[in-house]
Amino acid sequence: MWLRGSWVRALWVAAFMGVAAALIVMGIRDLSGRTAYSAGVVQTFIMLFAGIGFTIGIGCWDYWWGYLIGRPTPAHEDHSNHGAYSWKDYFKVNTDHKVIGVQYLVTTFIFFMIGGMLAEGMRAELATPGQQYFSPGTFNGLFSVHAALMIFLFVIPAFAGLGNFVIPIMIGAQDMAFPRLNALSFWMLPVAGMCMVSSFLVTPFDAGWTNYVPLAVHGPDGQTMWVMGVQFAGASSIATAVNFLVTIVTMRAPGMTFWRMPLLVWANLATSTLVVLGTPFIAGAQFQVLFDRIMHTHFFDPTGGGDVIAYQHIFWFYSHPAVYIMMLPGFGIISEVIAIHSRKPIFGYKLIAISTVAIGVLGFTVWAHHMFVSGMAPWLRIPMMFTTMAIAVPTGIKMFSWLATMWRGVIHLTTPMLFACGFLATFVVGGLSGIFLAVIPVDIATSDTYFVVAHIHYVLFGGSVFTIYAGIYHWFPKMTGKMYDEGLGKLHFWLTFVAFNATFMPMHWLGLQGMQRRIADYPSQFGTLNFFISIMAFILGASTLVFLYNMAHSWWRGETAPANPWRALTLEWQVTSPPPIFNFDEPPQIVGSPYAYGVPGARHAVVTVHAPPQPEEVPVPVALATATREEREAIMSALKHILVVANQTVSADRLIAAVRNRATTDPVRVTVICPQNDPTDAWVVNEADVRAATQARLDGALTALRRAGIQATGYVVERDPYTAVMDVVEEDPPSEIVVSTLPQTRSGWLRRDLIERLRDGTKLPVEHVVSDAPEMPRA
C-alpha cells in the first residue's frame, strides 16, 4: 500500500508542480507583454519543478520539511525507512546505504540497457553503407543520447552505487554521514534519466554528449532537456561526493588511519574530490548554454561579445576530470579484486594510493588536449601535451603494481578476477591509443575519426565497464547473500571480452583510414569491416543478457553465500552476507593492513560480534529467598508483573511515581531493565564508564522502589531496547510495560519509534513516561 501511495503521490506532485510552474511562467510572460508560450522557457520550468516535485512526492523531503518549519523532528522518520525487508522496500525512499547501493546499481543497469539499445540501433544503421533505418538527424540523436546515458546515468552512478554499498562497511561505519541526502541523491537519478530519454518524445538532442555551441544553442528542443538532465545528474553526483568525503574523513573505525584504508576508499576519496571541484563547471557551462537558448544572452555568441571557444574550455575543465571520475573508482575495485584473488599483499600500496591522488590533481591540468583542432590559442597545445603524457606515469605505476601483485600469486580465476585481468589487457590498449592522441600531430590527423571512438570505448568499456562487472561479481555474494553462477559468469566474461575486442579493435583501422565518426553514412570501401563490427556489437549486446539472467536468477534462487567466500581481510567480509542492518554490533578495531594475504597471523581488524543473549540470572528478593519453590511460584504468579524499560531516566521521580501508583491498586512485582546499546553513543564514550553510571542509576531506582515496598529486580542489558524487551516477554511475560524516556527531541529511542514498535511487537499495554534527567549521574 505504502508503495502505491508514495508513487502515486510522486506522480501527482510532479505533474502538479510542473503544470503550475508552466502556468505561472506563462502568466508572468503574458503580463510583462511578451508572447506567453516560449518552448525553451516553459520546458525548462516544467522539467525543473516536475523533477523536484517527484523527489518531494516520493518522500525525500518529508523529514527536512518538518525540520524547516521548526517542528520537533517526527519520531517515525528516522530509522523506519532504513533497511529492506522485502523487494518492495527497494521501490521506496530508503536511508540505508546498502539499499541505496542496490537501488543505484539496478537503476543504472536499466539505463545501461537503454543506452546499449541505442548503440545497437547505430550499429544496425552502420552495418552497410547508405541509409537504412534512421535519418541522419535521428542518428545524431542516437549517438548523443547513447553517450549521455552511458556517462551520466551508467558509469558515474554505477560507481557511486558500488561505493555506497561497500565504502561505509569497509571503513567500519554504520552508514553514510548523511543518509537522507544519500536517498535524495539517488532519487534525482531517475529524474535525470527521464529528462534525457524523453527528449526522444520531442526532437532528441543531437549535438553529441559534449553539447558544443553553437549547435547546442540553435539545436532542437531536446537540447533543453539535455541541459536539465545534466543539472539533475550533476546535483546528484555532487551531493553523493560530499557525502563520501565526509563519511571517509569523519567516520572511520578506531585504528583505521589513512594508510590503513583499502585502496577502493582511497579511490573514492580522490574521485569525490574531483566531483566536488569539477562538476560545478559542467553545471555552469550548461546553465550558460541554457541562458543563451532561452534568455538570449551572449556568452557564446561572438556577435554580442561572447566567445565560442570559451564553452569548450569550461566544458572540458570539468569533462576531462570526469574521465578520471569514471576511472579511479574502477582502479580501486581492481586493486581489491586482484589482491584478494591472487592471495598476495598488494604491491606498492602507498604508491598506488599516491598515484590515485596524483591522477586526480593532474586531471585538472590537461583539459585543452580535447581542443587541439578547435582554434584555441596555439601556445596552449604544448603544455597540455606534456601534462597529458605525464598522466601515463601514475597510471603506469598502478598497472605495474597490479602485475607485480599477481606475479607468483596463487591466482584464482573466478569471474571477478577474469574481468580484472581482461581490464588490464584492454585498458593498456586504451591507454596506449591515449598516448597517440596526446601527441599533437597524430591528434590532428585522427580528430573526429573512428580512432577516437575506439580509444574512448577501450577506456570506458574495456576500462570502466569491465571494472564495474568485476566489482558486481566480487560483491554480489555480500549484497544478496547468494552466490552467482560461476559457469554463467565465465561465459559472460568470454563473450564480452571477445566480442568487445572484435567490435572496437577494427575501429582503429577504420579511423586511421579516415572513416568519420558521428555520421550516419560512410564510403562503401569500409563496408565489410563495418558489417563485421555490427555483428560483433550485437553479440556484445547479447552477452549482457547472460549477465542479467545470472544476476536475477542467482538472487532469486542461488546458493546461499558464506560471509566470506573469498577469504578476504577487508571489513565488509567480516560481517554476515548480507550485512546486518547497522553493519556492526560494535565499532571494529583496525589493527593492520587490509592486504596482508599470505602473511601468517596477519589481521586487518578485530570485529566483535555479540553472542546470542544468555538468559540473565534474576536476583531473588529477600522475601522470596526463604520460601519453597511452590510457595515462590504461587507468590510470583499472584503478583502483577510490570516491566520497566529505561536508561537515562531510570531513577527519575516521575517514573518511580508512575510505578508506585500501580502498586496502590494491585500487588505488583517489577522488573527494571536498562538497555545499553545506543548506536550513536557507542562511538565517543568509554563503555565501562557508561555502564557504571547506568548501574548507579539503576541501583538508585531499585532502592527507591523497594523502599516503597515493591518487589523489584533489575539489571543492565547490553542489547537494543526492543530486543531486550522481547527477551523478557518471552521468558517471563509481564502484564504491562512502562517505558521511560527523555523528551521527544533528545530521545534516541523515540527517534527509532520504540513505543510503537513495542506495542506492535508485544501486543501488551505500553505506558510512556517522559522525564527530563538533569540530575542523573552521567558518564
Binding site: A177, V246, V276, G284, Q288, T297
Partner: protein
C-alpha cells in the same frame, strides 16, 4: 566548538573536566565539514561564471561596452550593508556560545533584515538599469553573476529565517548550536563572494 574555547589549549572545560575528542574541533562535525565541502563546489560554480566573464572581458574592449552604466556608488552602499550583516551574524554566534539569548535573537534579526534589504535594493537596481541580459556579453555576465549571487542570498536568508524562528522558540544553547555555525559559514561565504564580485564586475 564548546563554550570554553577561550581556555588555554581548548581541550578542557573551564572546570578542568576533559572534553571528549568528539568535541575538539568543528571539523569533526559532519555537518560543518559537509558544508565546507559543499562551499568548495559553490566556489567552482561561481568560478565557471567568473571564467566566462573574464574570457569576454579580455577579448573585448571597451569594457564595459559603450552606453552601459552601472551604479557603482549605490551598490557600494548595498555592499556595506551586506558586509555589516556578516558582523551581526558573528555577534549572534558569539552570543549563543556564551548563552546570551538576547544577542542571538537580535543578531539574527539584524542579519536577516540586512540580507533582505540587500536583496530588495538589488531588485530595484535590476529594474532601473536600462539594459537586459540579452543586450550584450557584459550584460549577460553581469546579470548571471549578480543573479546567481542573489539566489545564494535568498537561500541564505531562508536559512537565517529558520534559525531566527528556532531561536525565538528557545532552541540552541551554548553547547548545541551547530545549525547556527553552518548557517553562519554559508552567510560569510555569500558575503565574501559578493566582495569579489563587486570588485570584478562593478569596480574593475
Amino acid at each position: 566548538m564548546s563554550a570554553h574555547v577561550a581556555t588555554a589549549d581548548g581541550h578542557h572545560h573551564a572546570d578542568g573536566a576533559p572534553v571528549s575528542a568528539y568535541h575538539e574541533s568543528l571539523l569533526r562535525s559532519p555537518v560543518f565539514l559537509g558544508m565546507i565541502m559543499f562551499l568548495g563546489s559553490e566556489i567552482m560554480l561561481f568560478g565557471s561564471f567568473f571564467t566566462i566573464f573574464f574570457y569576454m572581458r579580455f577579448t573585448h574592449s571597451p569594457w564595459p561596452p559603450e552606453g552601459v552604466e552601472i551604479p557603482k556608488e549605490a551598490t557600494g552602499i548595498n555592499t556595506a550593508i551586506l558586509i555589516s550583516s556578516s558582523f551581526t551574524m558573528h555577534w549572534a554566534l558569539v552570543s549563543i556560545k556564551r548563552d546570551r539569548r538576547f544577542g542571538l535573537v537580535v543578531g539574527l534579526f539584524l542579519t536577516l533584515a540586512m540580507g533582505l534589504t540587500f536583496l530588495s535594493l538589488q531588485v530595484h537596481e535590476y529594474l532601473n538599469l536600462g539594459f537586459t541580459p540579452s543586450n550584450n556579453g557584459f550584460a549577460s555576465g553581469f546579470f548571471s553573476l549578480t543573479g546567481l549571487h542573489g539566489m545564494h542570498v535568498f537561500v541564505g536568508a531562508t536559512l537565517l529565517s529558520i534559525a531566527f524562528l528556532r531561536a525565538c522558540r528557545g532552541h540552541y544553547s551554548g553547547a548545541e548550536h551547530i545549525g547556527l555555525e553552518v548557517t553562519g559559514l554559508y552567510w560569510h561565504f555569500v558575503d565574501v563572494v559578493w566582495i569579489l564580485l563587486y570588485t570584478v564586475v562593478y569596480l574593475l
